[in-house]
């Protein structure tokens, strides 16, 4: 069915809201439904990612070829006090500007509609073993930090295609519109600043042995 998928370029997701975007998992599920239904065209409501080429998916990489991650950030959302220092220090250290929109760790705040303890909470990259971002990249821009196993985007190799962004099921890939590249949590090489600066002990760095 590869050749049967038409691409509407005008519907390429442009904004990191996750709204117009579709994760790789969601996309595969969608394609499966499409195959069953025998429908050929992808409507603009569910956009295909830019440069989408199913041949690239997984790039032939099998789990045994992709080393497991060695460390995680884990969070306790019930402890988060919503100061957003993690976002500030993350964007400042990586992107030289205090800009939560560029931060690789996110906080959400919704005082009116969420469970009380989750009024504010952090959200972190899971550093997935079979990382969809890694598998999606067609430009070898995704690399592995040998020390932490973190899946890292090399900004010099990133072409800004957005495949990783669309692939991530957790919306943890960040678009840098000014530079037209994408970025993600790199675990700061093993001593994450978000952990160092969290005043509430809501984020921990754990090594998986």
């Amino acid at each position: 069915m590869n050749n049967e998928v038409s691409i509407d370029k005008s519907s390429v997701p442009k904004k990191a809201t996750g709204k117009g975007a579709i994760s790789r998992r969601k996309m595969l599920e969608f394609l499966g439904i499409q195959a069953v239904a025998g429908t050929l065209a992808v409507g603009s409501a569910l956009a295909a990612p830019k440069n989408f080429n199913p041949d690239n998916y997984n790039r032939g990489i099998t789990p045994d070829q992709l080393p497991n991650t060695k460390a995680w950030l884990i969070t306790d959302p019930t402890l988060c006090v919503g100061c957003r220092t993690c976002e500030i220090v993350c964007s400042l250290s990586h992107d030289n500007v205090c800009q939560p929109a560029l931060s690789r760790i996110h906080t959400t705040s919704d005082p009116f509609n969420t469970l009380a303890k989750l009024e504010v909470m952090p959200n972190v990259c899971r550093q997935c073993n079979m990382a969809d971002c890694y598998l999606a990249c067609g430009y070898e821009a995704l690399t592995i930090d040998p020390k932490t196993g973190a899946r890292v985007i090399d900004p010099l190799k990133c072409e800004g295609c957005g495949e990783c962004f669309n692939a991530c099921p957790y919306d943890m890939i960040v678009e840098n519109k000014a530079k037209n590249i994408f970025s993600k949590c790199d675990l700061c090489g093993g001593d994450p600043l978000c952990v160092q600066f969290c005043p509430a002990g809501a984020i921990k760095f754990i090594e998986l042995g």
Binding site: V81, C83, R84, T85, V97, C98, S109, P199, G201
Partner: protein, 714 residues
């Protein structure tokens, strides 16, 4: 230079025009209140608070949005409908700040300020999304509370990340102590700026930005922030009910462990201990490790952040869930919680005082000034055993104020001090002279909680920290400000920290030297019959210096901006530092963020410029351009602070110690003289001199002032 976004939004609601201007012409005034005062001074210094030409300015500063801790503040500046100074020819300019996320979001959208003037034909809200700014219909939001309003706008804009300031029904009804509310508990409380928005038909301002805050020295800022976090005192204790117990010293938490900072603090435990089981977690503002809000949740009341005086109902003695309801309702309706202390005292007073065997309230009821239902509700809100001090009394008084119900509620909606005059006048006009006299007497009220809520300070609003307890420097502070002069610069040393006076004195000496510390400070926990320390000329100089320190620090905090609760960092929890903090943190953060080399003197000069501009604005407003003597007319305290106290005006509930012995007018005047000298203001009139303005590089301000008003002393 880094730090500032570079643009200011101008919105004229009368003709719907929106334009943008460069921030550069205001940079001399740093940001926050500096921008606000300059814009008002230049454009509409004597506007009526509710007239379309009155400007309301929302301004941030170079540090907003950056990593610099506890700097995510926004300042609101306007001519205040809340300040009440009958001797002034015009209403006076005032300020109020709030935390939360809104200020940082404004920076991310690319702006240093929003200036609103004019009046919309129908309710609107302003929507800022990066470079797109629009005026949107808000008719469907009118009448909604501040929480609903924010939620509806977020839903409408399909973006949970949008940050909103809004007014509630009280602001729409021009209630004079109506705040502007952001999130669930961040409020620009005093000044009645919610009513200014209401008078403009402006329901809310929504802001969304995708940009960032630039800093000059990234590496050093990260290092230095970590350094500060290693010695900054833990979250401040917030109430006298918790004296000492919340302090880092007693909690034995190592402040060098920068983690867990926010978790040392549990507001609920100290302020509403009966609600502990409803405490969810602490809550912070943008970039702040302090977590000084208690996030509470009670089924049926929803979730909300509570801090400090938002616990007013608990402080007044309530011991059930109405303590939280009080905060939720005030924030939703848009009522300044700090004003609720004298309000509640006033309605108690109306019930406690009698004429001809009937309470004052009964007399008001018989003259149709309050309905039967509301009278009974207020009586329910009396302290026990007469009333239950519960939900019913609370709902009655808050709804009366917000919706201006009955003559009494309509008067209370004017603020407690105006209400005293209005109710007394109405009583006189209906022939109840004795009742009128008793009502009028309430202007001599005493503050509760041993002087922390300081009573009627002379600007028509509830006021912080009784100078009979705290000192002549604080009397100066009351005399020079146009509003409740609350600054935590001194209480961060003498109160909240848990240090005893004996422990605090060496810290004070390190910051100011022996002369100032020993001749200016008194132990605020001394016996109630002991007057303030006074060592003649030495004390006059010391108190003037401390007064100036508070004012300069206040102007710095409200312009760079930095949180008043946190800065200056007078103390530290570290014994090896002898509990000494670092009061140079502001200047170092300013330098690392902006790239401008900064010293204490240079930052003080920036503060002096703002404070002097505030002074000139006050002079202009006070006399409508005519010659004024601010020393004699403006820089005064209500007479009863100089007289032995009358315990009748201190409610018997909740139990609180009476005030310290009265101030001595001679000492007060001596301290004022020294203060004018320090400020280079004219001693006879308290006016800034021409030379002072020239030295501060304010020639343009001098020229404009003299053109509009009168020639300043040489």
């Amino acid at each position: 230079m880094q730090g500032w976004a570079g643009k200011i939004i101008r919105v004229n609601l009368s003709d719907g025009t929106i334009r943008k201007e460069n921030t550069s012409k205001y940079l001399k005034y740093t940001g926050g209140i500096g921008f606000g005062y300059k814009i008002i001074f230049d454009e509409a210094p004597t506007a009526d608070p509710f007239s379309p030409e009155n400007r309301i300015i929302f301004a941030i500063g170079p540090l907003t949005g950056s990593l610099a801790p506890s700097t995510g503040r926004s300042e609101v500046i306007s001519i205040s409908p809340h300040v009440y100074t009958p001797k002034s020819k015009h209403p006076l300019v005032s300020r109020s700040g709030f935390g939360g996320y809104w200020g940082a979001e404004l920076k991310f959208a690319g702006y240093d300020a929003i200036v609103v003037q004019g009046k919309a034909k129908q309710p609107v809200f302003i929507n800022v999304n990066d470079d797109k700014v629009s005026i949107e219909d808000a008719r469907f939001l009118w009448g909604k509370d501040t929480f609903e309003t924010q939620d509806i706008i977020k839903t409408k804009l399909e973006d949970k990340g949008v940050q909103i300031v809004a007014i509630g029904p009280a602001g729409e009804n021009l209630v004079r102590m109506s705040p502007i509310v952001h999130r669930t508990g961040n409020a620009a409380g005093q000044g009645g700026f919610g009513a200014v928005m209401g008078s403009k038909n402006l329901k809310a301002i929504a802001v969304r930005g995708s940009g960032g805050a630039t800093v000059a020295n990234k590496k050093k800022l990260i290092e230095y922030t970590k350094n500060i976090r290693g010695f900054m005192p833990g979250p401040l204790g917030s109430t006298p009910l918790s004296t000492g117990a919340l302090s880092w010293t007693e909690k034995q938490v190592d402040p060098s462990d920068i983690n867990q900072q926010a978790l040392r603090f549990d507001q609920t435990k100290s302020c509403g201990p009966h609600l502990n089981k409803y405490h969810v977690k602490p809550l912070s503002c943008y970039g702040c490790p302090q977590g000084c809000y208690a996030y509470m949740h009670i089924d049926g009341m929803g979730g909300g952040a509570v801090s400090c005086t938002q616990w007013y109902y608990s402080w007044m003695g309530n011991t059930d869930t109405a303590s939280f309801q009080a905060s939720q309702m005030a924030n939703k309706l848009g009522i300044d919680t700090f004003e609720m202390f004298p309000m509640i005292q006033f309605v108690w007073y109306l019930q406690d005082k009698e004429v001809d065997g009937k309470s004052l309230l009964t007399h008001l009821y018989q003259k149709n000034m309050v309905s039967k239902k509301n009278k009974e509700g207020l009586e329910q809100g009396h302290y026990p055993p007469k009333g239950s001090l519960g939900s019913e009394g609370l709902e009655t008084i808050l709804n009366m104020i917000a919706y201006r119900q009955d003559f009494l509620g309509n008067s209370l909606g004017e603020g407690f001090r105006r209400a005293v005059d209005l109710v007394a006048a109405q009583c006189r006009s209906t022939g109840m002279n004795q009742v009128a006299e008793k009502v009028q007497n309430f202007e001599n009220m005493e503050g509760i909680m041993g002087g922390v809520v300081g009573g009627n300070g002379g600007r028509g609003m509830s006021i912080h920290y009784d100078p009979r307890t705290y000192g002549y420097y604080w009397a100066l502070n009351w005399a020079f400000e146009n509003r409740d002069p609350n600054r935590h610069s001194m209480t961060n040393l003498l109160e909240w920290t848990g240090l005893s006076f004996k422990q605090a004195m060496p810290v004070a000496i390190k910051h100011w030297g022996k002369d100032i510390a020993e001749n200016g400070l008194s132990d605020i926990y001394r016996e109630r019959d002991k007057p303030l320390t006074w060592n003649g000329a030495k004390s006059a100089r010391a108190n003037a210096a401390l007064g100036q320190f508070i004012h300069y620090r206040g102007c710095i905090k409200d312009s760079i901006p930095a949180c008043d609760w946190v800065f200056p960092m007078m103390t530290s929890g570290l014994k090896e530092r002898d509990y000494t903090g670092d009061i140079s943190v502001e200047q170092k953060l300013f330098e690392l963020v902006t790239g401008e080399a900064m010293t204490a003197d240079k930052l003080n000069e920036r503060a002096a410029r703002i404070w002097t501009l505030h002074r000139l604005l006050t002079a202009l407003e006070w006399g409508n351009g005519n010659k004024v003597n601010l020393r004699e007319e403006h820089d005064q305290l209500p007479e009863h602070f100089f007289q032995p106290s009358d315990p009748r005006f201190l409610p018997p509930f909740p139990p609180a110690p009476g005030p310290h012995p009265p101030l001595d007018k001679k000492h007060f005047e001596e301290a004022k003289t020294e203060y004018y000298k320090l400020m280079h203001w004219d001693i006879a009139t308290g006016l800034p001199k021409r030379s002072t303005l020239k030295n501060l590089d304010m020639d343009d301000v001098l020229a404009r002032f003299e053109k509009r008003a009168f020639r300043l002393p040489a």
